[in-house]
Amino acid sequence: MIHSLFLINSSGDIFLEKHWKSVVSRSVCDYFFEAQERATEAENVPPVIPTPHHYLLSVYRHKIFFVAVIQTEVPPLFVIEFLHRVVDTFQDYFGVCSEPMIKDNVVVVYEVLEEMLDNGFPLATESNILKELIKPPTILRTVVNTITGSTNVGNQLPTGQLSVVPWRRTGVKYTNNEAYFDVIEEIDAIIDKSGSTITAEIQGVIDACVKLTGMPDLTLSFMNPRLLDDVSFHPCVRFKRWESERILSFIPPDGNFRLLSYHVSAQNLVAIPVYVKHNISFRDSSSLGRFEITVGPKQTMGKTIEGVIILSQMPRGVLNMSLTPSQGTHTFDPVTKMLSWDVGKINPQKLPSLKGTMSLQAGASKPDENPTINLQFKIQQLAISGLKVNRLDMYGEKYKPFKGIKYMTKAGKFQVRT
């Protein structure tokens, strides 16, 4: 299936190549570079590029293009999903997935890639299994390895590979047994000029960090499982039990993993926790424009809104902006025309605002459209949909684990049209 993989950085250098079948010359990437040039922006490069003898499927993450070369028909999502999995694995192994990091760990990268694919077909992609086969590099291990001459390659087939729970390592041991669950909800919304909601939906995930000894069998139940409209599970979740009882029952993988992602049914009206008042105007005659935005809380259920960041792509005609924020810091990049305002916390008594003028290109006509405002924010201790975890139980092990659940609401793709 997947013939070769090329890693290309933003300046167009191929800095890593790996082949699973016969070697494909790196000149095949020329087609990719062509497409890249045509697309002008990195994110506009088409994910699938046909060339006379091969097809190039690529994903773009962390400023690196991961280009897979394939030769025959294959479901494109198969390859794309796999490439994303590769990136996730690198991130898992090295903390960050960046060019220098990959170059520094090229041997581990190679070993991992070798295990992930055989003849182009995925072999082991579960992080728990991979980590048993190839141990992730840590400073301590590097030191120990150089002294003792031991290796970071496992020599036994991970038992998980053959068991019914391939995602879990065996023989896990912790002195502090703990299980943390983060319920994170993101609001995707488009708000129109007048402040009414065009579309809003809540997408949530439950990320878990489970460090439990042995083979724990966990069940997690919700107070209001009906809220969950569409769900997708980590393979460890027993689907049948969810179907019949709406209970998440699973033997967790060791470490960090995404247990569940869900979508809250559309019938429920989404509470929008912030509003943006804006007054952006360009005048035809003068070369100055007025700019004024204010953010304020609404429907926050008494919680503070934090980490507010406002981003806006200004029209090309804007040369510069002179603005004064009532709090936080702002920057305007005259090249990309990107305005960003890091607001911080919203104090309901004193609403943060950003006021000032824009200087426009002299003689240019006024832009057709006002810029859209993209909003980011966070609300701790609140799941905006009202989802609540009822209880978490553990079976199969005797100790008492420490359990923790955290809720958080974030802005997803939150956009205000002006």
């Binding site: 993450r61 479901p75 794309i80 003849n119 409209d229 997708s232 090309r316």
Partner: protein, 1088 residues
């Protein structure tokens, strides 16, 4: 990076070899590489030296650098001889890196690569499955044609390996070999056929992949495995799921009739209905519903549904396309929600999913309409996503939502991304064309856009307006005039050409403007684009025909200009037009019709989705994404008119069993043999090929040679004994089969059994599988049948107490004709367990029945204490039943033991000492553990053949210093293996197991304890059983077979009308186990 290399350069001034080497990997900037080229060679010298050094660390360092070079695409092929020497390194990391290197360069250095082959051959026999697997991987990845026969042998052997992981790798190797040498196809298909029958979920995905690559047309190989694949699907790893689903989609399209009633029309349906299989004939009375879905078709649709919830986008997409292509139209709707969910994912995933939704939304708007708002465009989306979303919005537009959509489009038109704005205008045009109610509104809106400042927007509007006007020409004189004026300002050629065409077409409606436009255009003719020039000529011609008085001269002027144009198209057109419209002596009859030709009514263009023509590609494929047939694309066939015979999918028992047995024999022998005869490896590896193919006769000889003398005798004799017994058993089985198939009443059956047992033959043969009974199993079956005889006369409640007693009795009897089992098992404790396992491998066929062993529904994680840390002097041991088919032997129950060192000293040499097993019982011990660190723990697995009894297996767990007596007593529920069977089979089997073989009890409890899930949960908690899909709500069925004898164990929970009582029925030949299980299940089911 280049700065990096400088740093290294400076350091290397110090002159240390190691650092010089490092430099080689560090310099990757192209500029640097040239400058250092000469020194590169020298550095390679260093690498060679390091590779030849005696220290592993130096070798490892060198290998790491070499891999670094490969990663950067540098040529490291000249190091081949030095590297290949290390292929046999003991250090596993060096070994792995050498493998990496070999795979990369072996193709270029074929002769040298051959040096490494023997190492792999040896590794193929390694006891460690990981090493076997990786040896196979590398061996098959070395693309050297000479070794094709060796690869073929290795694949054949590995495909029969005990470890599913190795078999998985064998499946991968098939594809590699096929691409290297397509001549091997026939042989490879045989291997595929064998692996397709594999029951491991690990193998399924890979072998289907091999199938798709090597012989996608051999659909007949799938028939027998179809149901198994459907049932396993949920448990297969996600990548395998994608491949299997795609394959099954194609399969379904060839094997089932179309569920799309409206497509076929009544006649077709009628026909297929009358002519197709029996099943449908049975339902002839149901005239109203002429289509009945094949249950297998339904099975596939039902079993893929949970996968829509997968986290893997590729799996979700695969299921979506399966539903799209093979499910009834009414059920397709459920995929939309999951597909919309994927839109939250990364850009690339969105792109593919949107493309597929676009195609789907053309045919079936309905299913995506509720999610209209999910396709609203955000300003931050990349352009390609925006255009795709727009496409879908257009497809979804209808009378009800068009006003909302148009409002949304207004925002898009103003977008700063002008390409997107232009696409929006196209979209508005299409909406106007499709929904006549809004045509005028759209047109007005577009006309407003004509005064937009951006040229691209205006041009696009012009083009769209042109198309719209063409559809309803009459009343739009004003707009045409307005557009005529635009000619002065607009410069985009397509737009100018469109305006000219429009004016020419409507020149009679705008009689004043048209000639004036021509005048202006004549002036600028030479500087126009070719496209515009052609339209000027057209306009001239049309005006000449309608208004020759005013425009004759102008037209001739334009024609003259065209005659000398640089473009031959234009010159051609000029000549053509001149001949046609200007009457002269040469012009023929055509000129009379010139007006008709030029001013004919032209059909309005159809504004269609660009995704229209992608329909014929299977969704979710590369070909669909590219709209080109990609190489290797497999067409989805049309539904057959008449369904092919569905009975081909029925799995027959006998065939299966026979085919499996010989393979099973050969494989089990080899790995463990190697274990004992390291010294003979060279020899062995050379004959191993013939070995694996030859029959067990030669094997027993081999074994004798490699094991100790004491065991030789006993083994040989046991072999003899076995073969005798085996043949007898087979004869019996043959005679047995007849009555069984005839379906004689079970009382007769029961009698027969008893007679059999007197003649000391396996009665197990009975139970749908024909295992050649081994000497061991014989003793067991003897016990059983004996006990049955006794219990016949006894009250049921006494049974349990009887067991031990009857055992003792039969033991005495047994010693007479079965002296072998005891000597083997007891006197040579260290060697025998593995030997026994080998023997077992010889004798037992894999489980086989109508009913295949399925994966456990639920694995309880309850552990039992084997050895408490207090009594174990720091060594603690727990055991639990993983409910996996045991890899050591088919009759064994696998037990996982977790050993834990709670002391603060290392515990050394943990092994199993003497065993005190009841007659017939066997154990496969784990390999001794050298040492266990303080606080360390290790999990090992064992296999114990409990002979289908709950007797305790006692043995000694020894460390270097101590021995502890421990014992394992299995709960009755762990002596079972769940089987998957259909309701029909269940009933059939149950029908054969009534009377004596049936035990039942009444349960009374609160109704809420009788929900299906609760019952399932409770039953599987107690016993390792598989649920049987039930057609009735009130009846729950579970099936399993006993591990040792493979007798069926059927549990039925039948709910009574009142809701608080239920009848628990257990049918099994093994009445003892049955009644014990009943006793265990009853309280569990009764309690709240």
């Amino acid at each position: 990076m280049s700065s990096n290399s400088f740093v290294y350069n400076e350091q290397s001034g110090g002159g240390e070899a190691a650092e010089l080497g490092q430099e080689a990997t560090a310099t990757i900037s192209p500029a640097g590489a040239f400058g250092l080229f000469s020194s590169d060679l020298k550095k390679n010298e260093d690498l060679k030296q390091m590779l030849e050094s005696s220290k592993d660390s130096a070798k490892l360092d060198a290998m790491k650098r070499i891999v670094g070079m490969i990663a950067k695409g540098k040529n490291a092929s000249e190091l081949f001889p030095a590297v290949v020497k290390n292929v046999a390194s003991k250090n596993i990391e060096i070994k792995k890196l050498v493998y990496v290197y070999l795979v990369r360069y072996a193709e270029e250095q074929q002769d040298l690569a051959l040096l490494s082959i023997s190492t792999f051959q040896r590794a193929l026999k390694d006891p460690n499955q990981l090493i076997r697997a990786s040896a196979l991987r590398v061996l098959s990845s070395i693309r050297v044609p000479i070794i094709v026969p060796i690869m073929m042998l290795a694949i054949k052997e590995a495909s029969a390996d005990l470890s599913p992981y190795v078999r998985k790798n064998a499946a991968h190797a098939i594809q590699k070999l096929y691409s290297l040498d397509p001549e091997q196809k026939e042989m490879l298909i045989e291997v595929i056929e064998k692996l397709l029958r594999d029951k491991s979920t690990l193998v399924a995905g890979s072998v289907v992949m091999a199938f798709e690559e090597v012989c996608p047309d051999r659909i007949d190989l799938i028939h027998k495995n179809y149901r198994k694949l459907c049932n396993l699907l949920v448990d297969v790893e996600e990548w395998g799921q994608v491949v299997i689903i795609h394959m099954l989609t194609r399969y379904a399209r060839t094997q089932f009739v179309s569920p799309w009633k409206e497509d076929g029309g009544l006649e077709d349906n009628e026909k297929s209905f009358y002519e197709s299989d029996d099943e449908q004939k049975e339902k002839t009375d149901r005239r109203k519903k002429p289509y009945a879905m094949d249950p297998d078709h339904r099975l596939l649709i039902r079993n893929t549904k949970p996968l829509l919830q997968s986290r893997n986008a590729a799996v979700v997409m695969a299921v979506a396309q399966l539903y799209w292509h093979i499910s009834p139209k009414s059920e397709t709707g459920i995929i939309s929600k999951s597909l919309v969910r994927l839109l939250r994912s990364n850009r690339e995933v969105q792109y593919i999913v949107l493309q597929n939704i676009a195609t789907m939304s053309i045919q079936r708007k309905g299913i995506f309409e509720p999610y209209l708002k999910s396709f609203y465009v955000r300003s931050t989306d990349p352009t390609m996503i925006k255009t795709l979303k727009l496409e879908i919005l257009t497809n979804l537009a209808n009378e009800a939502n068009i006003s909302t959509l148009l409002r949304e489009f207004q925002t898009y038109v103003k977008s700063q991304d002008k390409q997107f704005a232009a696409a929006t205008i196209q979209t508005i045009g299409r909406c106007a064309a499709n929904i006549s109610e809004v045509a005028d509104t759209c047109l007005n809106g577009l006309v407003c856009l004509l005064s937009n400042r951006d040229e691209i927007v205006v041009a696009e509007s012009v083009v769209v307006i042109k198309k719209l006007l063409q559809m309803q020409p009459a009343q739009h004189g004003e707009i045409i005039k307005h557009m005529g004026k635009l000619l002065d300002s607009i410069t985009v050629p397509v737009a100018r050409a469109s305006i000219l065409w429009l004016i020419g077409e409507n020149c009679e409606r705008v009689p004043k403007i048209a000639p004036d436009v021509l005048r202006k255009m004549a002036k600028s003719f030479t500087s126009e684009d070719d496209l515009v020039k052609l339209q000027i000529l057209n306009l001239g011609a049309k005006l000449y025909l309608t208004n020759s008085k005013q425009t004759k001269l102008l037209t001739q002027y334009v024609l003259n200009l065209g005659k000398y144009d640089q473009n031959y198209d234009i010159r051609d057109r000029t000549r053509f037009i001149r001949q046609l419209i200007v009457p002269n002596e040469k012009s023929g009859a055509l000129s009379k019709y010139a007006k008709k030709i030029f001013l004919a009514q032209k059909p309005a263009p159809l504004l269609e989705s660009p995704f229209k023509d992608r329909e014929h590609f299977q969704l979710g494929t590369l070909s669909h994404t590219l709209n080109i047939k990609a190489s290797g694309y497999l067409e989805l066939s049309n539904w057959p008119e008449v369904a092919p015979d569905p009975s081909v999918r029925n799995v027959e028992v006998i065939e299966l069993a026979k085919e499996w047995t010989p393979a099973g024999k050969a494989k089990k022998e080899n790995p463990s043999k190697k274990f004992y005869s390291e010294s003979e490896e060279e020899e062995d590896s050379s004959d191993s090929g013939s070995d694996s193919e030859s029959e067990s006769g030669s094997e027993s000889g081999d074994d004798g040679a490699s094991s100790e003398d004491t065991s030789e005798d006993s083994e040989d004799s046991s072999n003899e004994q076995e073969s005798e017994n085996g043949s007898v058993a087979e004869d019996k089985a043959a005679t047995k089969r007849n009555p069984e198939t005839k379906g004689e009443s079970d009382s007769e059956d029961g009698e027969k059994k008893n007679k059999k047992s007197q003649t000391s033959d396996s009665s197990n043969v009975e139970s749908s599988s024909i295992e050649e009974s081994s000497s061991e199993s014989e003793s067991q079956s003897e016990n059983e049948s004996e006990s049955r005889k006794v219990t016949k006369e006894k009250e049921k409640k006494l049974k349990q107490d009887r067991i031990s007693l009857t055992k003792d009795v039969s033991l005495l009897d047994l010693d007479d004709f079965n002296p072998i089992s005891t000597p083997v098992a007891l006197p040579t404790p260290v060697l025998s367990p593995s030997l026994i396992a080998d023997l077992e491998g010889l004798n037992l066929s894999t489980s086989s029945s109508v009913i295949s062993v399925s994966t456990p529904v639920f694995v309880p994680v309850k552990t039992h204490v084997l050895l408490h840390r207090m009594s174990g002097k720091g060594l603690a041991a727990h055991y639990f039943f993983p409910r996996q088919p045991c890899i050591f032997g088919d009759k064994m129950v696998s037990v996982q033991i977790t050993l834990e060192n709670t002391s603060d000293q290392k515990i050394e040499n943990i092994h199993i000492g003497g065993k005190k097993l009841p007659i017939g019982m066997q154990m496969h011990i784990f390999n001794p553990i050298d040492s266990l660190e303080p606080k360390g723990s290790i999990t090992v697995s064992m296999g114990i053949d409990f002979c289908d009894s709950t007797q305790t297996a006692s043995f000694q767990l020894c460390t270097k210093d101590n021995c502890f007596n421990v014992n394992i007593q299995p709960p009755i529920g762990e002596l079972l293996l769940p089987v998957a069977m259909s309701e029909k089979d269940f009933k059939k089997e149950q029908g054969m197991l009534t009377g004596m073989n049936e035990t039942s009890a009444t349960i009374i409890t609160a109704p809420q304890n009788f929900t299906p899930s609760v019952i399932l949960q409770k039953v599987v908690n107690v016993a390792n059983m598989g649920a049987v899909p039930s057609g009735q709500d009130k009846i729950h069925r579970f099936a399993a077979k006993t591990v040792h004898s493979g007798s069926l164990m059927l549990v039925t929970v039948e709910l009574k009308e009142e809701g608080s009582t239920a009848q628990l029925i257990i049918n099994t030949e093994k009445t003892v186990i049955g009644s014990v299980l009943l006793r265990e299940l009853k309280p569990v089911l009764s309690q709240g």
